[in-house]
């Protein structure tokens, strides 16, 4: 969570500087800067995820060195999951919390002609992002562990795609549906990477031992 926060900080710093240095009246430029800010932020988030991976790697080495039986009490997969959840929670919290606070107060949604589904779609979008961050954490760490660069690239590309799709808002079908599809794909992939399989799933669902 902290790492996500720092990445957000740095990316907003960049965006802020860019905005201050540019002409506030030029709409297209502002929009362009926003797009640039968003993309840059995504890249920075992934960079910080990588840094966090490096840090956890060092920590695991320390834990292994100190432990009695040569293996660390927390595996790298667990750490990947936790890292993903941390990123997701922080990103979700930052996206939603002001919305929730405003939702408690009086008002009408979409009174100025915006979409009336604003809160609902925001909630769904945030949820899909939290899930995605979790899965991306697992995929990313797995890719780093096994030196599969294409996995890492896939995560980055997916993240960019989801963020880019959110530019379709308020055309929600363009942003929510593909995001959920991507999430399902990422979920399946992460599940397979974590050692799950169709058989495990069947056994779990049918409550067999």
């Amino acid at each position: 969570a902290f790492f996500w926060l720092v990445s957000l900080l740095l990316s907003s710093l960049i965006w802020f500087i860019a905005v201050k240095a540019s002409d506030p009246r030029d709409e297209r430029l502002q929009k362009g800067l926003l797009i640039f800010g968003v993309m840059f932020s995504v890249l920075l988030q992934e960079a910080f995820r990588f840094l966090y991976y490096k840090l956890l790697r060092k920590a695991i080495e320390g834990l292994v060195a100190l432990s009695e039986d040569g293996c660390s009490p927390i595996s790298i997969q667990q750490m990947a999951y936790v890292a993903g959840v941390g990123f997701g929670l922080m990103s979700g919290a930052f996206s939603m919390i002001n919305l929730l606070a405003d939702a408690l107060g009086p008002g009408t949604v979409g009174i100025h002609g915006d979409s009336q589904l604003y809160f609902l779609t925001s909630a769904f979008m945030t949820m899909v992002l939290i899930f995605l961050h979790t899965f991306w954490g697992i995929l990313f760490f797995h890719g780093c562990e096994h030196r599969r660069w294409w996995e890492i690239m896939a995560v980055v590309v997916m993240h960019l795609a989801v963020s880019g799709l959110s530019f379709c808002n308020p055309l929600y079908v363009g942003s929510l549906v593909p995001s959920y599809l991507l999430m399902a794909a990422a979920a399946a992939w992460a599940y397979l990477l974590s050692g799950g399989s169709a058989q495990n799933l069947r056994r779990f669902l049918l409550c067999k031992s």
Binding site: F16, N98, L129, S166, N169
Partner: protein, 458 residues
């Protein structure tokens, strides 16, 4: 209200507290007896208002187990074990401290957001005489710096005074002071707080009920904190007291002064605990020399100290004198009071006659708790509360400060495990908190607002 506070002794208390994380470790001791003494001394270290405790332990345990320093080989093996244990339990300690710090912050933020009273400007404390209602920015900055200087010097004076009192064994005086402080905190501040909360939610309460509630709350609090009580209840009281004190600070410190004070106090904390001539360090060393626990008051401890007085025959004899001493120290709380260690001491005294010697080893595992000074709680909550009160980006800033403080606490505990001695708990957390507050408020907020208005996601 203001005059009251000005006159009260306890107002000065907050200034005195310093935070530091202390490792309750003492240098390795040869005999079992000494080991127990050392753990007591370590506990004493944790006393100084803001001293934050640390994981005690593996050192003391090792010291305790190695009776007679005649086995150097075992020492080194034990050292490795200690390190392992330290790191293993380190994570547990971090969690044990996260929960109370989070709870305190939640209480403060919830109150700030809902009760208008604590965000209204109704005057200032006498310790910050310069007003910030000046037209120019430079003047305002100057005033806040002057306010800070006054506040910090008051704190330094009070701390030195306390150290002198302790050095010259004026325990009764300290005792009385602490009791007065905690009385005021538990009764007066709670009364005001309850009054404001009831006003906000428009709930009527008659005076007899109010009297009954406050009386019970205060009396149980005094007993729990200064004497014996269930661990959870003590911790709850300490958290509530810290929250109340933090709220008072948030209300009565002017804006810029609050931020400068937070920065200055973390620098002061750093110096007071780490410099050889720092008052806190002198206090710790004096307590160690005398093998006495320093005021266990004003410290939040997350676990019971069972090893103290466990199988030690003399402890029973020392018991009565310790008891009076402990209660004296408890008096000081006022804002920081956590005389948790006191109650710990009292509680451990009773099992002394019945427990066999071997019991200590088993219990040593459990007693590994961490101690954090209440002043730390207070200033963390002040930072987060101020962020909640004054930031225009509202919740994002609060959340960012909260995460920053917790990460700072984590890092401090990590350093504690590495250095194994008293450490100040304020600097890292407050620095992170301040950085994140200012950057989130000014940089992240416009970015997130723009994203939210276009419903973009990053």
């Amino acid at each position: 209200m203001i005059t009251f506070m000005n006159n009260s002794d306890s107002e000065e208390e907050p200034c005195n507290e310093r935070t530091s994380l202390m490792s309750a470790e003492s240098p390795p001791v040869p005999s079992y007896q000494d080991g127990l003494q050392a753990s007591e001394a370590g506990e004493a270290q944790a006393h100084r208002k803001r001293r934050a405790g640390s994981s005690r332990g593996p050192n003391n345990i090792a010291g305790g187990e190695t009776s007679g320093s005649s086995v150097p080989v075992r020492e080194s093996a034990l050292e490795n074990e200690e390190e392992e244990l330290t790191l293993k339990y380190g994570a547990k300690h971090v969690i044990m401290l996260f929960v109370p710090v989070t709870l305190c912050m939640i209480v403060v933020v919830a109150t700030i957001k809902s009760v208008r009273f604590y965000t209204e400007k109704n005057g200032q404390l006498i310790y910050t005489p310069f007003s910030e209602d000046t037209p120019s920015v430079g003047q305002r900055l100057l005033n806040s710096v002057l306010n800070t200087i006054i506040m910090i010097s008051v704190i330094i004076v009070m701390t030195v005074f306390l150290v002198l009192l302790y050095k010259y064994r004026c325990y009764k005086f300290i005792h009385g002071w602490l009791i007065l402080s905690s009385l005021m905190l538990l009764f007066l501040f709670t009364y005001i707080y309850l009054g404001e909360v009831l006003k906000t939610y428009n709930v009527a309460m008659d005076y007899p009920t109010l009297f009954l509630v406050i009386w019970n709350f205060g009396a149980v609090g005094m007993i729990c904190i200064h004497w014996k009580g269930p661990l959870q209840l003590q911790q709850a009281y300490l958290i509530m007291i810290s929250a109340l004190m933090a709220l008072v600070f948030i209300k009565y410190l002017p804006e810029w002064s609050a931020w400068v004070i937070l920065g200055a106090i973390s620098i002061y904390d750093l110096m007071a605990v780490l410099c050889p001539k720092g008052p806190l360090r002198m206090l710790v060393e004096t307590a160690q020399e005398r093998n006495e626990p320093i005021f266990p008051a004003l410290i939040y401890s997350s676990a019971m100290m069972w090893t103290v007085g466990m199988a030690k025959p003399d402890t029973a004899a020392r018991g009565p004198s310790q008891q009076t001493w402990d209660t004296a120290e408890n008096g000081r709380e006022h804002h920081r009071s956590p005389s948790h260690a006191d109650s710990q001491m009292s509680e451990t005294r009773s099992p002394v006659p019945t427990r066999p010697v071997t019991f200590v080893e088993e219990l040593e595992e459990e007693e590994r708790g961490v101690k954090l000074g209440l002043g730390d709680f207070i200033f963390y909550s002040v930072l987060v509360g101020k962020a909640a009160a004054t930031a225009s980006g509202d919740w994002n800033t609060t959340l960012a400060c909260f995460v920053a403080i917790l990460i700072g606490l984590c890092l401090t505990l990590l350093l504690l495990a590495v250095f194994k001695k008293a450490l100040p708990a304020l600097p890292i957390s407050i620095t992170f908190g301040l950085i994140f507050y200012f950057s989130t408020d000014n940089l992240v907020r416009p970015f997130m607002d723009t994203l939210a208005s276009h419903q973009l996601y990053i």
